[in-house]
């Protein structure tokens, strides 16, 4: 067994303002680069085990879009020790639940288990990371499943393509250009080797954050993490090992110049032969290059206006703005600005556009914060017989009002109270805590931000809200999409 190196053990304690409950946790790095976060909450005998892989659709080859999401499916197909379909079966038959999701920035896997099954969860996730099955049988099945998912969520769902259509126009350079669901043609065109390479690049220890929350014993949990995760090879050694189990003797020797027989199949990392030892050491010291994207810097230069025809009855209006990335200091003020516009039934958009003027069936705005950029979206489904242009005009008036007039002290207090309430509720479940901790570590570089988030909001002033409205609601540089019924085409 290897020595447990606790490189970054942190006991975090911050002052929590207002009603926010402080989340206690510990975190540390394993020698192979896996970041571990543990949060103890014993009130219910359940535990959430999650791994966040820092890979999303933005890391994809533009000719192979949809890969990150595809992997979310593929990595349930089994591992060297787990048969096809067994992932879910093992979790379910042990009283757990599991799922995964993929965004532009990350792929997130989690199990919710009875707390006495924590070790099972750790074994399952370590298997997925070390040697998942990335091969044709699973690829074929999941290709069809993903196509059905796209038909259900995008093609057959009214307005379902607005996300794809909006991002395509907001980002022409940055890989946020395409949506996580990606292109089915790309998935069809991809070969097994493309999938294997994606796994070798992004599913490596240094790209993983293991976040566990719930009814757990910290010391015992650390021992199990040591057992299942510290033994995962570091750097490129993991891919040497993967090739060792997947390649034929001839192919392996051709690639690495050393015969497979020189390695110990039962204890690969401790292979005795000098050639093997040398090769392993050399690959372990080579880091896996994880290609990262850059912050989006492209500016919209004008208004991009387009019509999309869909199987709908009521026209829809979607307006998109470029906001800064989620870690930008202005993100707090932008969230509060969004509350003024669209938070609750007394918000301005709801009051004016839906209730008073009865222009829309639904109308709301939301901020979509990402790692390299942010997006602000206004969406409205028109009331029967209302022109989309008139809804846009009314929305513009509302934006203009905020730009020109400071919001009242009372409205400001209202937004602060709402934010406080939402913040308290956001950490109500252990699954939510595990995810928040992992997100904060990966995107903000600090899991402890979970305890400071509310403070960030409370520091925003009314002037900040006015300032960000002026800065980011660029009426002469935005994307305006009109969704119209197909029969009007």
């Amino acid at each position: 067994m290897k020595r447990l190196l606790i490189s970054g053990l942190l006991l975090v304690s911050t002052f929590a303002a207002n009603a926010q409950r402080k989340i206690d946790f510990i975190e540390y790095d394993l020698p192979n680069g896996i970041h571990v976060i543990l949060h103890q909450e014993p009130s219910t005998p359940i535990v959430a085990v999650s791994i966040l892989y820092h890979v999303g659709s933005k890391n994809e080859n533009p000719e192979r879009t949809g890969f990150a999401h595809f992997f979310e499916h593929l990595l349930f197909e089994g591992s060297a020790n787990i048969g096809r379909g067994e992932y879910s079966e093992l979790v379910e038959k042990n009283g757990g639940a599991l799922n995964a999701n993929t965004s532009q920035d990350r792929t997130y896997y989690f199990e919710l288990l009875p707390s006495n099954q924590l070790e099972l969860g750790l074994w399952l996730e370590s298997e997925r990371l070390l040697h998942a099955k990335v091969e044709n049988t699973g690829i074929e099945t999941q290709r069809s499943v993903v196509k059905e998912e796209k038909r259900q969520r995008v093609d057959n769902s009214p307005y379902g393509s607005f996300f794809t259509e909006m991002f395509k126009r907001l980002f022409t350079v940055h890989p946020y250009n395409w949506a996580p669901i990606g292109s089915m043609e790309h998935l069809d065109a991809a070969q097994e080797v493309d999938y294997v390479n994606f796994y070798k690049t992004f599913y490596v220890p240094a790209n993983a954050t293991l976040s566990i929350a719930g009814d757990l014993d910290i010391e015992q949990t650390k021992k199990w993490i040591e057992k299942y995760f510290s033994s995962i090879p570091k750097g490129q050694a993991i891919n040497l090992y993967r090739d060792f189990i997947n390649l034929s003797d001839a192919d392996f020797e051709k690639t690495y110049g050393v015969a497979k027989s020189k390695f110990d199949a039962k204890d690969f990392m401790n292979s005795k032969s000098p050639e093997a030892k040398k090769l392993i050491a050399s690959y372990a010291s080579k880091a896996v290059e994880i290609p990262r994207t850059k912050k989006d810097t492209e500016k919209l230069t004008g208004v991009v206006k387009d019509v999309v025809y869909d199987n709908i009855q009521l026209p829809g209006l979607f307006i998109g703005y470029k906001f800064p990335e989620q870690t930008h200091p202005d993100a707090y003020a932008l969230d509060m600005l969004n509350e003024v516009l669209s938070g609750g039934s007394s918000s301005r958009i709801n009051k004016v556009i839906v209730e008073k003027k009865e222009m829309a069936q639904f109308a709301f705005s939301f901020n979509y914060g990402l790692e390299d950029a942010g997006v602000g979206i206004f969406a409205a489904i028109a009331a029967n017989g209302i022109e989309l242009d008139s809804i846009q005009k009314e929305f513009d008036i509302q934006v203009d009002l905020i730009k020109k007039e400071l919001i009242s002290q009372e409205e400001f207090e209202k937004v602060r109270n709402k934010i406080e309430n939402d913040n308290v509720s956001s950490n109500a479940s252990i699954a939510g805590v595990a995810e928040n901790l992992a997100d904060n570590h990966v995107y903000y570089g600090s899991a402890s931000r979970v305890n400071k988030e509310l403070e960030g909001y409370m520091n925003v002033t009314r002037e900040d809200i006015q300032r960000v409205a002026n800065k980011y609601f660029t009426q002469n540089a935005r994307v305006i999409l009109h969704y119209l019924p197909k029969d009007k085409q």
Partner: protein, 693 residues
């Protein structure tokens, strides 16, 4: 399934890693026992049952008010409860809607309402303010006309967008076919929405939300003493009527599979739901084993038979599930998902296969254990939410369950065995009497025919109503009426028909009626005496519930509950246009206004639709285009604000004295659905007309 796992286990190589043998699966540790904290329950002086689940983990509290009234059949006003629910927060006599919204948002609270509940959630420190708003709504909700108009308009737009949402369309069709004349089967349409008035909404609120029999469920950061204090303070003086109570019935069971198709132009996938009602209610002993059975078939997770077969094996879909809904007012089973056009029929085949297959043999130990463990796990996970414990207490009281129902849940679940599961499937499942609802592209329609027992696919619209596609009639209304008369009288000329009818001086028809809501048999008597006297009565258990008569000049209806009501002048004028045993023969002479609308489809048969109007009643008669016999009659009567719709279907025509009369007559009116079997028709006997007066 057992076999597959076994094989998979064999071919896996043993992969060792360091001293760690990775092929060894970890064993579970000692399970912690699950304790369910008892909720506090107390009753207020005005009849509210309060359930409190204390939990101080987070500084927030939620308070929900649930009505104790049973759901109603809304018929021609379907959607009324929905409308009323969305209007409850439209303002009070103290606060306009704007003020209410503002004050609620100011404390960051959520205050929401629907047809049967009103809910508050906020931080503990804002609870008093939240309750002040809550009780203002409960006591003083004032339903302003302007908000009514706005919400109505919004619903009109909403109904338009429902026409493009396949999932909503499928759900609409599903509830309508499984639950006709039942509260679940009400679907708001453009015409039912138009029938709803502000007065209806106000009455709905008053009769539904009343302290007696209602529940207040409190969860969160509050002590029992404090809870008692605030409930007394904010709800103690609330008064109201008795809650509405009615048994809803079980839904309609099919004979043979029915395919119901809803067109969605341009669809790339079909939404398929295979469903049928179930005779079971919340808390009955079969609920747990039946839920286990549903779990194995498709109730949850990836390991179920439907998911493994249709997603993992065949990749027809992103997800295929079965859903068992057991409620206090009716229950049903529904299986399905979204399937691409070219595999829609194969998907239905596989769903029906799995549904049938599970009734043929014991489920395997593996799948039984999988489902039981997964249900036990879900039960444990649900306890993380403080609201779960409160819901348990609510169910125990509302459905009269044993006090330890949830304490013993895991033990009872553990005891469910293969025999129980097979018994459940054989008792509750059928692959032969299903409603197969398909929403999709018309190009797949022809592939669905083999699934329908009589080969006649029913076409419904987005709201689950029959599609009325009327084509132009190929004959005139005069020819239609004449052909009808000739067909029923089995003659070839009008002259012969009149001659045959002239010989009939009296007509008496006895019918056995059955009605879901009434447990004993009913008998109806109908008489006619030349030239224009008519009488009818309905009786049972020695009582006459209703009788009517018309003596050619005047008449009346006597109802056991509401007394005698004379015919109005309008009704008499209308009646005079519809005289004779077969009134159609006299329409031209009596001045009845008729219009032949055209030909449409009625359950797979082409029919002529003839509309006639007398006074405030519009009637649509449906005649078979081949036999010219009358198969259905739909009448819509307006009485002030009320709209009364009744539909009668006629079948089983038999000859009596050379004339064909229907011997099966089913009539539905609002929530009443009568099935009638004619037991005798006697011509020219002596009739005592006085008994109908």
């Amino acid at each position: 399934m057992k076999k597959i796992i076994f094989i998979a286990g064999l071919i896996l190589p043993t992969v060792l890693f360091g001293q760690l043998d990775r092929s060894v699966r970890p064993n579970p540790g000692q399970a912690r026992t699950i304790n369910i904290k008892d909720s506090e329950v107390f009753t207020t002086s005005n009849g509210i049952t309060v359930i409190l689940s204390e939990n101080h983990k987070l500084p927030r509290v939620s308070i929900d008010l649930f009505t104790g009234s049973d759901p109603k059949v809304e018929g021609m006003k379907a959607g009324l409860s929905e409308m009323a629910g969305s209007m409850i927060l439209s303002g009070t006599s103290n606060r306009s809607k704007d003020q209410l919204d503002n004050e609620k948002d100011y404390i960051g609270a959520s205050l929401s309402a629907d047809a049967t509940s009103i809910s508050l959630a906020c931080l503990t420190k804002h609870m008093n303010k939240g309750l002040e708003l809550f009780s203002d709504v409960v006591f003083n909700a004032n339903f302003p006309q302007s908000e009514f108009d706005r919400i109505k308009k919004q619903n009109e737009s909403g109904l338009l967008s429902a026409k493009s949402d396949a999932a909503i369309m499928a759900r609409n069709a599903e509830v309508k076919v499984n639950f006709p004349n039942h509260p679940f089967g009400g679907v708001m349409t453009e015409s039912t929405l138009a029938n709803i008035t502000l007065a209806d909404v106000q009455n709905y609120y008053k009769s539904t939300f009343t302290p007696k029999g209602s529940y207040i469920v409190i969860v969160g950061d509050i002590t029992k003493d404090k809870a008692k204090e605030v409930i007394e303070k904010y709800f103690g003086s609330w008064n109201g009527t008795e809650p509405y109570k009615a048994e809803a019935g079980d839904g309609e069971f099919n004979k043979g599979n029915r395919v119901i198709f809803v067109k969605k132009p341009g669809a790339v996938q079909s939404v398929v739901y295979v469903s049928f009602p179930e005779k079971i209610r919340t808390g009955q002993a079969d609920q747990l084993p039946l839920t286990v059975l549903n779990g194995i078939l498709g109730g949850g997770g990836f390991g179920t038979r439907l998911m493994q077969n249709l997603r993992e094996d065949k990749a027809y879909t992103y997800g295929c599930y079965s859903n068992l809904s057991i409620t206090g007012d009716g229950s049903w089973m529904s299986m399905g998902g979204n399937f691409r056009n070219d595999v829609t029929d194969s998907a239905i085949t596989q769903i029906l296969f799995e549904l049938d297959n599970i009734t043929n043999d014991y489920v395997s130990d593996e799948e039984l254990n999988l489902t039981k463990s997964s249900m036990a796990g879900a039960f444990a996970r649900s306890l993380e939410r403080p609201s779960t414990v409160a819901r348990f207490a609510y169910n125990i009281i509302k459905y009269n369950l044993p006090k330890d129902y949830y304490q013993t849940y895991l033990k009872r679940l553990e005891a469910v065995n293969k025999e129980d599961v097979l018994t459940m499937s054989q008792k509750y499942f059928t692959a032969k009497n299903c409603n197969i609802v398909v929403v999709g592209n018309e190009e797949i329609l022809k592939k669905l025919k083999p699934f329908d027992a009589d080969g006649k696919i029913e076409m419904l619209d987005a709201f689950g109503d029959e599609v009325k596609e009327i084509t132009k009639a190929n004959i005139s209304k005069e020819v239609l009426l004449q052909n009808y008369v000739l067909a029923t009288t089995k003659t070839t000329t009008l002259k012969a028909a009149k001659k045959k009818l002239k010989k009939i001086k009296t007509y008496q028809e006895l019918t056995d009626l059955s009605l879901a809501q009434i447990p004993f048999p009913l008998k109806s008597t109908k008489v006619w005496m030349a030239p224009s006297k008519e009488g009818s009565k309905m009786e049972g258990q020695g009582m006459v519930f209703m009788k009517t008569y018309y003596d050619g000049k005047t008449g009346a209806t006597t109802n056991m509950q509401t007394g005698k009501k004379e015919m109005t002048a309008d009704e008499i004028t209308a009646k005079q246009k519809s005289v004779g045993l077969i009134p159609e023969i006299n329409y031209a002479a009596s001045g009845m206004t008729t219009e032949l609308l055209g030909i449409e489809d009625n359950n797979g048969t082409k029919v002529y639709v003839l509309k006639f109007t007398d006074g405030s009643t519009e009637t649509f008669d449906y005649f078979d285009t081949e036999t010219f016999m009358k198969v259905k009659s739909l009448s819509i009567r307006k009485e002030g604000d009320e709209v009364i719709e009744s539909t009668s279907t006629y079948a089983d025509y038999k000859e009596v004295n050379g004339i064909l009369f229907p011997h099966t007559v089913n009539t539905s009116m609002g929530e009443m659905a009568f099935s009638g079997k004619v037991t005798s028709i006697v011509i020219n006997s002596k009739i005592d007309f006085e008994v109908f007066k």
